[in-house]
């Protein structure tokens, strides 16, 4: 026992500490899932029902009434974007609330506080998977044959969204401890998220309407890049799109330029989030 060195108890290693306490992370994730679906008959099935209903509403409102169904396989185009934005929304908004919601623990027991935002993102991944399976199933139905680049692009998109939501989640979770306004700011941001990326419309409409300069900034949004990568991976290689007269119109240099840019921006945001979180972490226990 005395062989161990004296150490300051509050010396946290940030996100690395979370890796060291994977077991606890797993238990917290399991707890979150169990608590979320307590006393509910459908349980995890709700994570199919909600995007399903959302999808039907958009399909009729945009696809049928506004006539976007004329594009080949618009269903796949829309759904691949929606599930990515859903993943982002859930991860980001729950991570923002996670520290305040677990205030009792933060105040009483010493543990890496990053665990809570990380657990929120993990729970969001658990909810993303069934939606992703539906997408895959639909893709095969529409004659999906992706190239290796397209698969890599999809993985890249997932990594971008996971890092981005964790980074923003850490940032706003820490801010939320100080000012509860953060929750509302985040809700506002999420309200815009669906429309700031080409989920329900085509990317080139932005370029053609607002010009190259605006389009450049639009394209810097990591969510935009991720959604486009998902279109590239799931919508572009379906049969009807490949054989269509104009083919799949994708932004230029999506893989060679925008994928690395998206990864870089989300890494930077993650680093900022982690830094701010650690800076404010010492005050969590007394502010909550």
């Amino acid at each position: 026992m005395s062989a161990e060195l004296l150490a300051a108890p509050d010396k946290g290693g940030g996100l690395l500490d979370v890796l060291r306490r994977r077991e606890l992370l797993r238990l917290i994730v399991r707890k979150e899932l169990k608590v979320r679906y307590r006393n509910s008959v459908l349980g995890l099935l709700w994570s199919y029902v909600k995007p399903g209903v959302q999808f039907i509403v958009f399909y009729f409102a945009l696809g049928v009434f506004l006539g976007l169904n004329k594009q080949p396989n618009f269903v796949i185009y829309m759904f691949s974007g929606i599930i990515l934005v859903n993943f982002f929304s859930e991860a980001f908004s729950n991570a923002t609330r996670s520290v305040v919601a677990n205030g009792a623990l933060v105040k009483k027991i010493f543990l890496p506080r990053e665990l809570f935002p990380v657990a929120s993102v993990w729970v969001a991944i658990v909810h993303f998977l069934p939606q992703f399976l539906i997408l895959l199933f639909a893709c095969f139905f529409f004659g999906w044959s992706p190239s290796i680049f397209q698969i890599l692009g999809a993985i890249g998109a997932f990594v971008i969204v996971a890092m981005l939501s964790l980074g923003l989640g850490l940032l706003f979770a820490a801010a939320n401890v100080m000012f509860r306004d953060s929750e509302n700011i985040v809700d506002l941001m999420l309200m815009m998220a669906t429309w700031l990326s080409p989920v329900l419309y085509a990317w080139y409409l932005v370029r053609d309407t607002l010009g190259e300069t605006f389009y450049f900034f639009y394209q810097l949004n990591p969510m935009t890049i991720a959604v486009e990568l998902f279109h590239f991976a799931f919508w572009a290689p379906t049969a009807a799109v490949r054989t269509a007269a104009e083919g799949a119109r994708m932004p230029e240099n999506l893989i060679s330029l925008w994928l690395p840019v998206g990864l870089l921006i989300s890494v930077v945001i993650l680093a900022i989030g982690q830094t701010v979180f650690r800076r404010l972490e010492g005050r969590f226990a007394q502010e909550l």
Binding site: A8, V35, L105, K108, F110, F179
Partner: protein, 243 residues
């Protein structure tokens, strides 16, 4: 000379009592030229030095608001110091409050695992001690019932039981020996004595002076954030009773 388990050096802690938690009020305050105070400060601890050797059992005594619980929170790492340093050796388990990590919607069994791991055990260790924990808590067949249906006594017994089975090197206890009925309290005290004999370092915060006289051999008296006495428990208790 015995090694130190905890070294608290010249520690101060100031609390900001913020009067607002809304961004709007803060912005309004900034625009008005920062008139008035948004917050006031309060010195919870002021230059406290305490060194606890391995295997010692120390009571932190003092009236309400003297800074005892704050000191305990600083030692556990939940809060960080403003000035000075706190260093500890080995695994520190804090019973800052019993049952902090319990979730009412999980069953007793699930809570035991969650809390065991929260308090620093691995899942395997929790598994190995599970029967012992349940037996100690006397929860019996209710272990697979959701904790929200427990009586408050059952809840505290189970929470305490998990905490005392984590085998820490340093054990921090904040006013929790008022757990359950008298037979169970005796059992708790016996378990704490057992921990103490096995070489575990104890730091106890309590207002129950008779209890701490039995459990601890040293007392540190705090008054308004300052250490006013440090010595054998009998003297510390006498000092507090007289004042």
């Amino acid at each position: 000379m015995a090694a130190e388990a905890i070294i608290v050096e010249n520690v101060s802690k100031r609390f900001n009592l913020r009067h607002t938690r809304s961004l709007k009020e803060t912005v309004v305050w900034l625009f008005k030229g920062r008139r008035g105070d948004l917050s006031s400060t309060f010195m919870a601890l002021d230059g406290v030095d305490v060194t606890v050797g391995v295997g010692e059992s120390v009571a932190l005594l003092g009236f309400n608001g003297s800074g005892k619980s704050t000191l305990l929170k600083l030692i556990s790492g939940v809060m960080s110091t403003d000035t000075g340093s706190v260093r500890t050796r080995g695994k520190v388990a804090g019973l800052i409050e019993v049952g902090a990590g319990f979730h009412p919607d999980l069953t007793g069994r699930e809570n035991v695992f969650l809390n065991g791991v929260l308090l620093g055990m691995t899942e395997k260790e929790t598994e190995a001690r599970f029967d012992e924990i349940v037996a100690f808590s006397e929860i019996g067949k209710f272990i697979d019932t959701e904790v929200k249906f427990y009586s408050s006594g059952m809840f505290l017994r189970l929470a305490f039981s998990v905490a005392v089975h984590t085998n820490p090197d340093v054990f921090l206890i904040d006013e929790i020996l008022s757990v359950g009925d008298e037979p169970f309290q005796k059992k708790c005290l016996a378990r704490i004595q057992e921990l103490r004999e096995s070489g575990c370092t104890l730091v106890v915060v309590s207002h129950d002076l008779d209890m701490v006289s039995r459990v601890c051999d040293r007392g540190v008296v705090l008054r308004q954030g300052k250490k006013v006495a440090d010595g054998p428990i009998g003297e510390a208790v006498r000092l507090l009773r007289e004042s």
